[in-house]
């Protein structure tokens, strides 16, 4: 049976984890490689690095970070943030990333999704959709960290990127992100119900049952940031909870 994936997301800038991490057994909790390795050992199903470094020259730091992480972490690694060209993608994949997540660049130039997908295969092209509710049953796609409303219907956009060759959608509710009062289940159902490709739910997790609700609303995977970093919930704890609700998850009895 295919398991629901739990994916910790690390915001990185200039080679460091930006938001807090609270691993007591790590010497350097700001080091993304150490944190990613710890999540790997804890049973994470994938890892996402979101590069929030603004300037171009610092991107080399991220590539180096990906290279060194991939030597120690043997689960899929996705990198997102500021990816604009086929060359950016190639550099990240060559460094050891398994997937890249495109966001603003996909909205500005949808053909970029197609180009990237034809070149590297749909398995490595994730498109991030940041959606915000504008009225009942209508969500628009926002870019630039939620500052700009593109006016594009998130459902229409999701179908379009699937046709262009995205292998997966990373769906973030801008309304719920950071609130900790649960995922936008209507948005999740609407998007997941209109595309064939897997949808990763993001934004709003605060407690165990939110994970279950997301699974029931069509999420194939769930992205989690600060909740895991601060150890309020653990990967193992959430997986045990989901299992008790008859949701299939990968067992984590690994000894390393």
């Amino acid at each position: 049976m295919l398991g629901i994936r739990l994916i910790p997301c690390l915001d990185v800038a200039n080679g460091r984890v930006v938001k807090g991490t609270n691993f007591i057994n790590l010497k350097d909790a700001g080091n993304p490689i150490e944190v990613a390795r710890q999540y790997y050992l804890d049973g994470a199903d994938e890892i996402v690095f979101l590069d929030i470094t603004a300037t171009h020259e610092r991107r080399n730091t991220t590539i180096d970070l990906v290279r060194r992480t991939a030597e120690k972490v043997f689960i899929p690694l996705t990198v997102g943030g500021g990816i604009k060209t086929v060359e950016d993608i190639r550099n990240l994949l060559n460094a050891g990333a398994d997937k890249v997540s495109l966001n603003s660049s996909a909205v500005k130039d949808p053909e970029f999704v197609k180009k990237a997908s034809n070149k590297f295969g749909i398995q490595c092209i994730v498109v991030a959709v940041d959606a915000k509710r504008v009225k009942k049953n209508r969500w628009n796609v926002f870019i630039h960290g939620g500052r700009i409303d593109t006016g594009i219907d998130a459902i229409v956009w999701s179908k379009k990127i699937m046709e262009l060759g995205a292998g997966e959608i990373l769906l973030t509710s801008m309304d719920k992100d950071g609130t900790r009062d649960g995922y936008d289940l209507e948005l999740l159902e609407a998007v997941s119900g209109s595309v064939k490709i897997p949808v990763v739910a993001s934004g709003g997790a605060g407690k165990m049952e939110h994970f279950y609700q997301a699974c029931e609303s069509g999420a194939s995977a769930i992205l989690v940031a600060s909740l895991f970093h601060y150890k309020e919930l653990t990967i193992k704890g959430v997986k045990n909870y989901l299992r008790s609700k008859n949701i299939f998850v990968r067992t984590i009895n690994e000894k390393v």
């Binding site: 295919l2 290279r67 050891g96 590297f120 490595c124 194939s220």
Partner: protein, 212 residues
């Protein structure tokens, strides 16, 4: 005694770094190879799993890898195909038109097609794998439990004509062949290099057989 040298074939697109990292972790020396000239020098070959069937098959033929790989396998040395590399073992692929594979195993590659739309395509994520009691599955899955989870990402699956080579199966809408092991020919639809410690164990098993 030096480390065993394993060749990782580079089609020129996508990520083969993960395979190389995993081989290093398994104590093998991994070399990226883009020409068939010296492949007989290697103790084992890995055909990784990136890109699409047609272009990858064309690349192998254009470079002369098809004949070289067949000779290599006939010489009794170990070959492991991952994901697309595994699909390339088969006679025929249907990804964007019909393409000829390497023909190492009789059978074909088919696309998942779910009428009800309930199951997502690609089949992406961790799925449990049932080990078949075939002649060589014990070597491939040495010290791995039945039902262990491995990482998959694919829209096509293989249908071998002869089930003797099937070393494991998996279920996603239907039961499909998730790996083969027959003598020195191993391959898996899942990515051992991305499947945590259990995946690394399979690659270690491969390295051990290649070292014999």
């Amino acid at each position: 005694m030096g480390q065993i040298k394993i060749a990782v074939i580079d089609y020129g697109f996508g990520n083969i770094k993960s395979v190389i990292n995993a081989l290093h972790y398994c104590n093998a020396e991994a070399c990226v190879v883009d020409s068939p000239l010296k492949i007989s020098d290697f103790g084992g070959i890995i055909l990784p799993g990136v890109g699409a069937f047609g272009p990858a098959a064309d690349f192998l033929r254009l470079k002369g890898f098809d004949k070289a790989i067949r000779n290599y396998v006939n010489s009794g040395k170990m070959l492991y195909g991952i994901c697309l590399g595994f699909q390339l073992f088969f006679t025929k692929g249907s990804e964007s038109g019909s393409h000829e594979g390497l023909g190492l195993i009789s059978g074909e590659v088919r696309k998942f097609n779910f009428k009800d739309g309930l199951l997502k395509i690609p089949h992406m994520g961790w799925n449990s794998v049932n080990i078949e009691r075939s002649l060589y599955s014990g070597k491939m899955f040495f010290s791995i439990n039945d039902g262990e989870n491995f990482y998959f990402v694919h829209s096509y699956y293989v249908v071998p004509e002869n089930f003797l080579c099937v070393s494991s199966t998996c279920e996603y809408g239907l039961k499909f062949c998730s790996s083969v092991a027959y003598e020195n020919l191993w391959g898996s639809q899942f990515h051992p290099e991305k499947s945590g410690e259990k995946g690394l164990k399979i690659l270690s098993n491969f390295v051990r057989e290649a070292s014999k």
